[in-house]
Amino acid sequence: MDNVIATHPHTHETAVPAEHEHVVLPQHRHHFETEEQQREAGSFGMWLFLLTEIMFFGGMFFAYLLYRNWYYPAFTVASNQLNVPEGAANTAILITSGFFMALGVWAAEVRKKGLLVVMLILTTVFGVAFLGVKADEYHEKYEKHHIPGSSFSTAMFTNPAAYGLKEEPLAPDMAEHTQIFFFLYFAMTGMHALHMIIGIVILFWLTWRAHRGEFSAGYVAPIENFGLYWHFVDIVWLFLFPLLYLINRHPLK
């Protein structure tokens, strides 16, 4: 039996960097023919997972698009209640975090253990900083009664003058729709923050593993794949920031 089977020499025809030769990594899973195959399968799998994330956020982005068109006046004034300086600072913080993550991937690829650990820690620090600023923003919304639900108040939109705002007051029925804006704001940034929290938990774990030297011998797939995830979370924010904070500052008449 089994005469389809022939010996398959494990030749590395592809140009693998010289130091990779002849080293069988302990992390190499033996159902893969080569480490190259394993690495590419891993990153392809990660990309497919990110596709599902695109579609997951896609549903909310569509809801935002729809209701912004329906309730444009409500969305513009509600959006102006968001804290642009904090949002902009957060964008910079997140980009910085992503930058350190990218450097971390590089550090792993060139097998610098100490640098990798430092980079992962920096990534974590900036990620936590992002969440801290976000928490402050949420708190501000809480104080302004802009959290959808029973405590939600449209007073700021029906009577802006009382709050020192220069905007035109909204009709009460339109002001009610600011709640949809704030719900979408919380849903989208909340879902984004949830992804950040999951990411930070994984970062702790990766930092610990990097500290043990697991990624300093040529096995970098977890770092690379986590990097993809972390950058994807960045990208979501890169769209959330203008959509929620910026594009409504000069409403069309």
Binding site: H8, T14, E36, E40, S43, V84, W106, E224, F232, D234
Partner: protein, 113 residues
């Protein structure tokens, strides 16, 4: 038995396979700088009244930033065609969701139905 075939070409070489490319820290720094500049521009642009151009500019900058992140931070520029197509497929389906659904909402206003 065809012993001469050791590797399925499409399995280990193109188009599904790409060399492992290490992006240099210098390149990362440049990307980082571009992203920060982009953020600054988008914030400044938001405070200038450009009418309908405001959202267009903001989203255009966001798209450019996203593409840069995808290409360099996420290494897609150096990846195989397969990965590039995968990324494309994701955004394609996203656009299908948006446009096909929007076609309903837009055309609802056309008639009294």
């Amino acid at each position: 038995m065809a012993h001469e075939i050791y590797h399925d070409p499409s399995n280990v070489t193109n188009p599904e396979h790409a060399e492992h490319h290490i992006v240099s820290p210098l390149q990362y720094c440049m990307v980082f700088g571009t992203l920060l500049v982009g953020t600054a521009i988008t914030v400044i642009a938001a405070y200038i009244d450009l009418g309908w151009l405001n959202p267009v500019i903001a989203l255009a900058i966001a798209c450019i930033k996203a593409v840069i992140v995808i290409l360099f931070f996420m290494h897609v520029k150096y990846q195989s065609k397969l990965i590039k197509m995968t990324v494309g497929a994701g955004f394609f389906t996203f656009i299908v969701l948006i446009t096909m659904t929007l076609s309903d909402y837009i055309s609802r206003a056309w008639g009294m139905w």
